[in-house]
């Protein structure tokens, strides 16, 4: 089969052209109306409804799979003795987040935000208002199934919580962590989400964040930063002399797998954020987003590899993995408007930021086990700031306003929650438990419990 464009046109969609050619009047009319309502004309409302819903579902399941990506990435970058715990947290996060977002989160974020002054919606369990009455489709103003929208928004909130678990790994107690996740996904995330995606005051102020460089990634980063400060570093990470003692991750293939899964999921994350697929314009936008997302990630990896080679004389795989994610987070605030070369630049700068931010954080003695703060917070800010470079509808003032207001809110709110947890239940395990590892100390179950291959379990 020949894959040239012209050939395709002659073969696959010949009919479409043929129809237009056969009936000039029809084509004329179509073109005429196309000016008025260009995108919708040739796609029936119900067909558009199916496409829009399908986009939420496909892109939603891709984002859902990011939960596995985070689990593997984090599971690969912690030490063996904390791996079961990291798995437990990650399956817990995805589950708890999903329940909380149903119970109050979705409505707190989207339900009548305008009526509440643009600060938050009316909380309460989510319920569908789907355009199906008595088994018949009655047309619908929204253009997609409510449940698909809920599903797509829900997987985003889970992502935010996953970011936190990587930063505070290897020293935090299980249940206080999960309680924080409950508050984050049920309350903190939805409130700031309401400001922008819920159509609240920040949206009115002209802030622009297409798929969540700030609303999802920075939020996770700020929440994690607050936790990391209150928790302190892992024992032994920073010497008394200020020297950094690296603690290499235990399983790099797992971390690599996790990164590839996240990369895959990001097509859903950014692509689905077009929020519609029922027109040529929308689907073309999604295709462009796929391309830009991939170019930014590729640039992030490339830059991280070249830069670690240049600075340290060796390519650092973990930095390359972080570079991919840094590129992805950077393009997330605006994956549609950039030209390919701009997408490469935006992602590449994300790669630079990651390589520089990781040691900087260590200098500040903020112990981030998986590099999530450089990736999600630093690149999240960068990506949001970069929006006006390519999107003429955005401006730097509003972008800074959004970054600062959301950052301040999330950091302070998270700090308070972490602080209350610290004062009440305590958030950090004892030194001895840390030495033994969370798996044995808190869960009584090792990730790789056998004593070597050859022997039986001891």
């Amino acid at each position: 089969m020949i894959r040239t464009k012209s050939q395709i046109a002659l073969a696959a969609v010949a009919g479409a052209a043929a129809v237009a050619l056969a009936d000039p009047a029809l084509a004329q009319e179509a073109a005429g109306e196309a000016v008025a309502e260009p995108a919708a004309l040739p796609v029936s409302a119900e067909t558009a409804y199916i496409f829009n819903t399908l986009s939420f579902m496909i892109h939603g399941f891709l984002v859902m799979f990011m939960a596995a990506g985070f689990a593997m990435l984090e599971g690969g970058l912690v030490r063996t003795k904390n791996t079961t715990m990291q798995m437990t947290k990650n399956i817990g996060i995805y589950s708890f987040a999903g329940l909380m977002y149903w119970l109050i989160g979705y409505n707190l974020m989207y339900n009548g935000v305008g009526d509440m002054g643009g600060f938050f919606g009316m909380p309460g369990p989510w319920g569908a208002a789907d355009p199906i009455v008595d088994g018949a489709y009655q047309g619908d103003a929204a253009g997609y199934a409510g449940a698909s929208d809920w599903f797509f928004q829900m997987v985003f909130v889970a992502t935010t919580a996953s970011i936190v678990s990587g930063v505070v790994a290897e020293r935090i107690k299980l249940w206080p962590f999960l309680i924080f996740v409950i508050v984050l996904t049920g309350v903190i995330y939805p409130i700031q989400g309401a400001w922008q995606w819920g159509g609240g005051w920040l949206a009115d102020a002209g802030f622009s964040d297409f798929a969540g460089s700030t609303l999802v990634h920075s939020v996770g980063g700020w929440a994690a930063l607050a936790g990391a400060i209150l928790l302190g570093a892992r024992t032994g990470k920073y010497g008394p002399d200020g020297k950094v003692h690296p603690i290499p991750g235990a399983n790099l293939p797992l971390a690599t797998l996790g990164t590839f899964i996240l990369w895959l999921g990001w097509f859903g994350f950014n692509g689905g954020s077009q929020l519609a697929m029922g027109s040529a314009i929308d689907v073309t936008a999604i295709a462009t987003i796929y391309m830009n997302t991939n170019l930014a990630a590729a640039a992030g990896v490339t830059v991280a590899m070249v830069l670690t080679q240049a600075i340290y004389g060796k390519v650092d795989l973990t930095m390359a993995l972080n570079g991919a994610l840094g590129g992805l987070v950077s393009i997330t605030a605006e994956p549609l408007a950039p030209s390919p070369i701009m997408a490469i630049l935006i992602g590449g700068i994300g790669g630079v930021l990651v390589v520089l931010a990781v040691p900087t954080l260590d200098k500040l003695k903020i112990d981030d086990v998986v590099g999530a703060i450089p990736v999600h917070l630093v690149c999240g800010i960068w990506g949001t700031l970069a929006v006006p470079l390519t999107n003429s509808g955005a401006n730097f003032g509003s972008q800074i306003l959004g970054i600062v207001s959301i950052g301040a809110f999330v950091f302070v709110a998270s700090f308070i929650v972490w602080f209350v947890l610290k004062m009440t239940m305590g958030i950090r395990i004892s030194d001895e438990e840390e030495a033994i590892g969370l798996d044995k100390a808190e869960l009584g179950l090792e990730a790789y419990p056998e004593f070597g291959r050859g022997s039986q379990a001891l």
Partner: protein, 112 residues
């Protein structure tokens, strides 16, 4: 005091430990090792090419005991670890001059 060092088949470890428990042995140390001996590994085929597996998984047990216990310890290990098949392993006895319990500083017999 003597060090009794036994190389046994991995799946016999539990039985050996129980047999030693019956002698009121309070401590021992185990390592995973590979053994080369009369027992030959199977000839394996990987992707069409034959190869000889020379090293077989074994477990090494090290127990320091008072000299008068040595006989009984060797006995206990021998009978618990035996399958009567080639590769059952060996026991070696060596002299230990000194023992210290780190926690208390106790030495020799008291340290075991």
């Amino acid at each position: 005091m003597k060090l009794v060092m036994a190389i046994i088949k991995p799946f016999k470890l539990d039985e050996v430990r129980e047999a030693l428990g019956a002698l009121e042995i309070q401590g021992l140390t185990v390592s995973e090792v590979k053994g080369f001996g009369r027992q030959k590994g199977q000839t394996e085929i990987y992707r069409g090419a034959e190869y000889q597996v020379n090293f077989l998984p074994k477990v090494k047990i090290e127990i320091v005991v008072a000299t008068d216990m040595v006989e009984r310890v060797v006995e206990a290990i021998t009978s618990a670890a035996r399958t009567d098949k080639i590769g059952d392993g060996k026991i070696f006895v060596m002299d230990v001059e000194k023992a210290v319990r780190i926690r208390t500083g106790e030495t020799d017999a008291d340290a075991l």
